[in-house]
């Protein structure tokens, strides 16, 4: 059965810390892995990863996919309180829909 597992489930850090969020997957017909950020409302898209070893960056956020070891990481450097959110990992395979992990809840304290 296809699945995606995120770790840790929750995390509390201080402003300025660097955090690494993990997402491991077991998926047949894998196409892509996606990261979303969810504050109190709609999840917003961060990254889509299809190729192994190619880092994607957006400001202080970056992500990379390892298709051999079947995982992805999301890094956030110099965290700010505005980074507090639930971070969702999801995979796309041969179907139409995305299949989500349970999320990592990140709290950044001042």
């Amino acid at each position: 059965e296809d699945k995606v597992v995120q770790s840790p489930l929750s995390l509390v850090v201080h402003e300025g810390d660097t955090v690494t969020l993990n997402c491991s997957y077991e998926v047949t017909n894998f196409r892509s892995l996606l990261w979303y950020k969810q504050e109190k409302k709609a999840p917003t898209f961060l990254f889509m990863l299809t190729s192994s070893g190619i880092e994607k960056k957006s400001g202080r956020l970056s992500s990379i996919l390892d298709k051999k070891e079947l995982f992805s990481i999301l890094n956030i450097t110099a965290t700010q309180t505005g980074d507090s959110a639930v971070y969702l990992c999801a995979y796309s395979n041969s179907g139409y829909a995305l299949n989500f992990g349970k999320g990592t809840s990140l709290l950044v304290t001042p």
């Binding site: 196409r31 996606l34 709609a42 796309s92 139409y96």
Partner: protein
């Protein structure tokens, strides 16, 4: 910008009532989805539609039905609401494509069934 609009942000209903959740997207997307989100369970797919009048069951379709009469609109129907359907409901849309994993989400509808 893609806009996915869910008509009701907060609803309170009684057990046994029929509930309609409406979702409209303005980007001419072929695919539309309904997920529910619960603490500790993440997002789970209820139903999706890849074309007008077409629908497919997701992982948890029991107790729900859907309607897609127009391309831009996808409705989720709870025929007889129950307390275990208290949840956050998220609508999403995406365009057709080979590597088009990205979904665009609405703001969510928080349903409480008493």
């Amino acid at each position: 910008d893609v806009k996915v609009t869910q008509s009701s942000r907060y609803l309170v209903k009684r057990t046994g009532e029929k509930v309609f959740l409406e979702c409209v997207q303005d980007m001419d997307h072929e695919n539309m989805f309904w997920y529910r989100q619960d603490p500790g369970l993440g997002l789970r797919l209820i139903y999706f539609s890849y074309d007008v009048k077409m629908k497919e069951k997701g992982d948890i379709p029991e107790g729900y039905s859907v309607s897609r009469e127009k391309k831009e609109r996808f409705s989720l129907i709870l025929e007889s609401a129950s307390t275990n359907q208290t949840s956050m409901y998220l609508c999403a849309s995406s365009s057709l494509g080979v590597y088009t994993g990205e979904l665009f989400f609405g703001e969510g509808s928080r349903l409480t069934v008493l």
